[in-house]
C-alpha cells in the first residue's frame, strides 16, 4: 500500500484550527448582537451571515476570486499592505474559510444566547458585573454547549470544504493543497490507494471528533437554564 504525502492533512488541520479560532472571536459578538438587538437591520445581517449556507460554493468562490484578485481594490490593497496576495495563498484560504463557515459559528451561538434570554445578564449587572465581565463569567459558561456545537460544526465544515478552496486557493502543495483537494487529485489521476487512505483517515477522524463531542455531552451534562 502506498502511503500518500501527509502534507495536505496537516495543512487542513492548520486551516481548520485557525478558521475556528478566528470565527470564535469574530462570530461571537455578531451572534450576541443578533440575539439582543431590536433594530430592523437585524434581519439584513441575519440574511447576509446565512448566505454561505444556500449559495453554491462556486458562486462564493467566484466572487472571492474576483474581490481577492490583486487587480481588485481589496486584493490590491492587501498586496500593498503585506506584499503577498490573497488568491492562491494560505492566507487567502483562511479568509475564504472564515466567510464560508461564518453561519456555522453564528447560528448555534445566536440560538443559545436567545435561549438564555436577558435574565442572566440582568442578574450579573445587579451584582456589579460590567457587561463584558458578565458575558465572560456568566454567558460563556452557560452557553458552553452552544460554543461546543459551534466549534465542532465550524471545524468540521472547514475540513470538508472543497469548492471554494479549489476556486480561491487552487492546488499548491504546502500552501493551498488541503486534504479534500488532495483526494480529488488522487482520484483524477486514478491513484485510488492513496485516495482511500486519505478519505478513510478523514472519515475516521470526523467520526472520532463527533463521538468525542457526544460522549462529553452525555458525561458532563451542562446545567443550563433557570434550574426551576
Amino acid at each position: 500500500m502506498t502511503i500518500p504525502d501527509l502534507g495536505p492533512l496537516w495543512l487542513t488541520l492548520h486551516l481548520a484550527t485557525l478558521t475556528t479560532f478566528i470565527l470564535l472571536i469574530v462570530g461571537t459578538p455578531i451572534a450576541w448582537w443578533l440575539s439582543v438587538t431590536r433594530w430592523r437591520i437585524k434581519a439584513v445581517v441575519e440574511a447576509v451571515t446565512a448566505l454561505p449556507l444556500v449559495l453554491p460554493p462556486t458562486v462564493l468562490g467566484f466572487y472571492m476570486l474576483v474581490f481577492f484578485s490583486p487587480n481588485s481594490t481589496i486584493g490590491g490593497l492587501w498586496v500593498d499592505m503585506t506584499g503577498t496576495q490573497l488568491t492562491f495563498s494560505f492566507v487567502g484560504l483562511v479568509v475564504a474559510s472564515v466567510i464560508y463557515s461564518l453561519p456555522f459559528t453564528v447560528q448555534p451561538l445566536q440560538a443559545t444566547f436567545e435561549t438564555l434570554g436577558r435574565a442572566p445578564m440582568e442578574a450579573a449587572a445587579t451584582l456589579r458585573a460590567a457587561p463584558f465581565d458578565a458575558f465572560l463569567t456568566v454567558i460563556v459558561p452557560l452557553a458552553a454547549r452552544g460554543f461546543l456545537t459551534a466549534v465542532v460544526l465550524t471545524f468540521a465544515h472547514t475540513i470538508g470544504e472543497f469548492g471554494v478552496v479549489l476556486m480561491v486557493g487552487g492546488n499548491i502543495p504546502g500552501e493551498t493543497k488541503v486534504i479534500s483537494i488532495a483526494i480529488y487529485e488522487h482520484v483524477e489521476t486514478i491513484r485510488y490507494a492513496e485516495a482511500h487512505v486519505l478519505a478513510a483517515g478523514l472519515l475516521a477522524f470526523s467520526f472520532m471528533v463527533l463521538l468525542f463531542v457526544y460522549v462529553m455531552n452525555r458525561r458532563f451534562p451542562l446545567h443550563v437554564g433557570s434550574g426551576a
Partner: protein
Amino acid sequence: MSTLKFDLKISYPDFTLEVAHAIPLEGITALFGPSGCGKSTLLRILAGLECKAEGRIEFSGEIWQSGTGHQQLAAHKRGAGYVFQDARLFPHLDVEGNLSYAERRSRHVASGIGLDQVISALDLAPLLGRRVTSLSGGERQRVAIGRTLLTRPRLLLMDEPLAALDFKRKAEILPYLERLPRAFDIPTIYVSHDIDEVARLADRMMVLRNGRLLAAGPVDVVLERLDLPGNGERFEPGVALTARIVGHDPRYRLSQLDLDDQILSVPELDAPIGTSLRLRIKARDISIATERPQGISIRNILTARIAEIAAPADAAQADLLLDIGSGRHLRARITRASVVELGLVPGADIFALVKSVTFDAPGFGAP
C-alpha cells in the same frame, strides 16, 4: 435625611407607568398593588434594567437617570442590589460560587457586610457546596438574598421574593427578611401584592394601581385610609396599630395591650411588659354597637367615634373609619343595611367590638 427621588414614565402599547415620589432611604418601603399595576416595572427602572424608561432618578443627590437611554447610569454602577422573584442564581456555579461572584465584585465598597456575617444571618453554611439546581425554592431564595447582600448594596430592591413559594416556605423565609434590613441597615424597596407581607415587613408603603401612584405614607396611615379601593388583589381592608404590652394575666393566659386610653386584651404574648408590638385588625373583624353590649363573649369592646362612613349606594357593604382616641383609628366593614338601621352617622359615639387581632412577627419591635 437622604432620599430616593424619582419622576418616571414608561410606555408600552397596552400599559403606561407614570410615577413620581420620594422615598426616605431607611427601613423598608413596600411597593404594593395588584398584579400588572406596574410595581415590578418601577423596581426594574430603579435598578437600571429598563432602558426605555424616561424621566429622572436621584439617589441621595446622585443622578441615576436624567432623560432616556444613554442618560442612564448603567445598572452595574448603581450599587442597587436586586432580589428577583425567580432567584436567578447562576446554575454553572455552586452556592458558594454564587455568593463569591457578588462578594469579589464589591470589595472596593466600604461596608460592614462580610461573607461570614451573611452566611450566618441566612443560615447558608450547610448549603455552600450544593449545586443551585438541587436547592428547594426557599433555599434558593435565601441564597439569592445572601448573594445580593454581598454586593454590599446602597439600596436593596426586592421583587416579590416570596411570590413563587408556597405557604410553608414563605413562613420559613419571612423571619430572615424581617431581621435583615435592620441587621444590615440597607434601605429596602419591597415589591409585594400580599398585604400581610407588607404590614409585617414594611415601615411605609406606596400603593400602585394601573401604573399610577394611588397613595403613599406610613403603613398604618395608608391602611387606615378609606379611599383606597378595597377590592385589590389580596387587599384586606384593616388597620395596623402599634401598642405596648402593659400586663399579663397568667390565670387566664391573657395579655393586656395599651392603646393609650383603652386596653385591648389578647391571648398571652411571650414578650416582656413594655414591648411594642405591631398588630393588625381587619375591618370585617369589627362589629358596631350603639350601646355597650351585655352578656357577650367578646372581651374587647372599645369606645369609638365614627369619623367617616363610605357607603356606596350600589354596594352591600359600608366602610367606617372609627376614631378610638390618641390619633388611633379602626376600620369597620359592616352592611349598609346596618348603617341605616342603627342610624350611624359621622360624629356618633359607638362601641367597636373587636373579634380578632393578628400580630406581626413575635418580637418585632416597632420603632
